[in-house]
């Protein structure tokens, strides 16, 4: 349906090719979260991989810093329609994390869990093979608390709600269990290039 009188302001051709459908480019770094920013003490911070309730591996902040580091620079896309180009992150790749834990993924699905009790489901196939990391630095500095520091999941090829802020662990599940937003009408997969914003998009 053409909107009467709307012409729009198109991004440049190179920008347009990098923008998934329905997204616009922002230079800011907007914040989207459910509540106040949690206050996380690094001395008590832990990252734990579980299968169901059973812990498989766990690291303190200091131990986590000693794991192999990965860098990634690229574009991120929020379901609230903004995209940001050329964001630079550093952290521990999920492949390296599983290797450090000495395990192979025991199931094909997991829930990322945050210190704010937020959860989001991501298939293992979307995390391994160099696709994702637990990021601890953004633009060369520790991630600010508003943006999910001290550590957040980074799954940049999916809408950014999948990149759980204040992440405290990954919990493998037998089936693809809906996380917080997914239980509230958001898409189970969240591929921005297929514009999977809401259930059945």
């Amino acid at each position: 349906m053409v909107t009467r009188g709307f012409t729009g302001r198109r991004p440049t051709r190179p920008d347009a090719e990098r923008l998934p459908p329905g997204q616009y480019l922002t230079e800011d770094f907007p914040v989207l979260q459910l509540g106040p920013t949690p206050r996380i003490d690094l001395a008590r911070w832990r990252f734990t991989i579980r299968q169901g309730a059973k812990p498989l591996a766990s690291w303190s902040w200091e131990e986590f810093q000693a794991l192999p580091r990965t860098r990634w620079t690229g574009d991120i896309h929020c379901v609230t329609k903004w995209s940001k180009f050329d964001t630079a992150w550093e952290g521990v790749g999920i492949d390296d994390l599983l290797a450090a834990a000495g395990i192979a993924a025991p199931t094909a699905y997991l829930l990322a869990e945050g210190y704010d009790d937020y959860t989001t489901n991501v298939p293992v196939a979307d995390l391994t093979g160099g696709k994702a990391m637990v990021a601890t630095a953004y633009a060369g500095a520790p991630i600010p608390p508003d943006h999910g520091g001290p550590a957040r999941l980074l799954v940049p090829h999916l809408y950014f709600w999948k990149s759980a802020k204040w992440v405290k662990g990954l919990r493998f599940t037998q089936a693809d269990e809906a996380g917080f937003w997914e239980q509230r009408g958001y898409h189970m997969s969240g591929d921005p290039w297929r514009e999977q914003r809401f259930t059945d998009d």
Binding site: M1, V2, F6, G8, P21, G22, G35, P36, T37, D200
Partner: protein
């Protein structure tokens, strides 16, 4: 259940403040919305180019076939500029919704603390209007920060509600007037002294506003899990 795009017709349009235009849209909802939720709006140019944005609903859910949006004109706003200058009564706009978990229902009760900065008051207006109709006994307080008196959205209505609704208190913070003040520790203490400990707190506004207000509330002892935030421009 899929959220389908639907055509909505602009039934009325009027200036709300010098920078905000109120648009009433006739919608065919398949389900009621909850006060505080938003809609996604999609505009399409003749060549197929589209732009989408989210806008909170200002009206209460008790008027389900008609929703009010308040569109603030942003500098160089691609979509807000269209709504400010071009959109007219009778035009059809595509939208889908309702969307979001930033919502209050009368059954949740109170005390209800609403903290809004600028056009962040819009979803809180829906809650206040719904509360007045459905649960006027629920204690509620709106702490609303705006730059000037002219920039206050729904000013006459809010002042009237403050004067006539016994369980509702309005606290305005004007930041760009002589003697103006921002929301600070002292103001939050004043709010909590009046309202008591809120059962539900909703904070909406710009990113820096919401971050600062939520931190002040947590510092004042409001349990973080009872605070919901919604940030504009994000």
């Amino acid at each position: 259940m899929a959220l389908a795009w639907q055509e909505a017709t602009i039934a009325a349009a009027a200036p709300e403040t010098p920078r905000v235009r109120r648009l009433s849209l006739a919608v065919g909802w398949e389900r009621p919305f909850r006060a505080g939720q938003h809609v996604d709006v999609r505009l399409t140019a003749p060549d197929g180019y589209q732009a989408q944005r989210s806008y909170s609903i200002a009206s209460p859910p008790t008027r389900p076939g008609l929703i009010d949006l308040m569109v603030e004109r942003l500098d160089d706003g691609e979509v807000s500029g269209f709504f400010a200058d071009v959109a007219a009564v009778g035009d059809a706009i595509e939208l889908r919704g309702p969307i979001g978990t930033f919502a209050w229902e009368p059954g949740q009760g109170g005390p209800l603390l609403l903290v809004g900065g600028g056009s962040g008051v819009v979803p809180l207006l829906s809650m206040l209007r719904h509360r007045a109709e459905a649960a006027p006994e629920v204690p509620a307080l709106l702490l609303y920060s705006a730059r000037t008196p002219e920039a206050v959205i729904a000013r006459d209505e809010l002042v009237r509600r403050g004067a006539t609704e016994p369980a509702f208190r309005l606290m305005l913070c004007l930041t760009r007037v002589a003697g103006g003040r921002r929301i600070d520790t002292a103001r939050i203490a004043e709010v909590l002294a009046h309202l008591g400990r809120p059962a539900h707190t909703f904070v909406c506004g710009s990113n820096p506003f919401v971050g600062a207000a939520a931190d002040l509330l947590v510092d004042a002892g409001v349990p973080p899990r009872t605070i919901r935030t919604e940030r504009f421009g994000g």
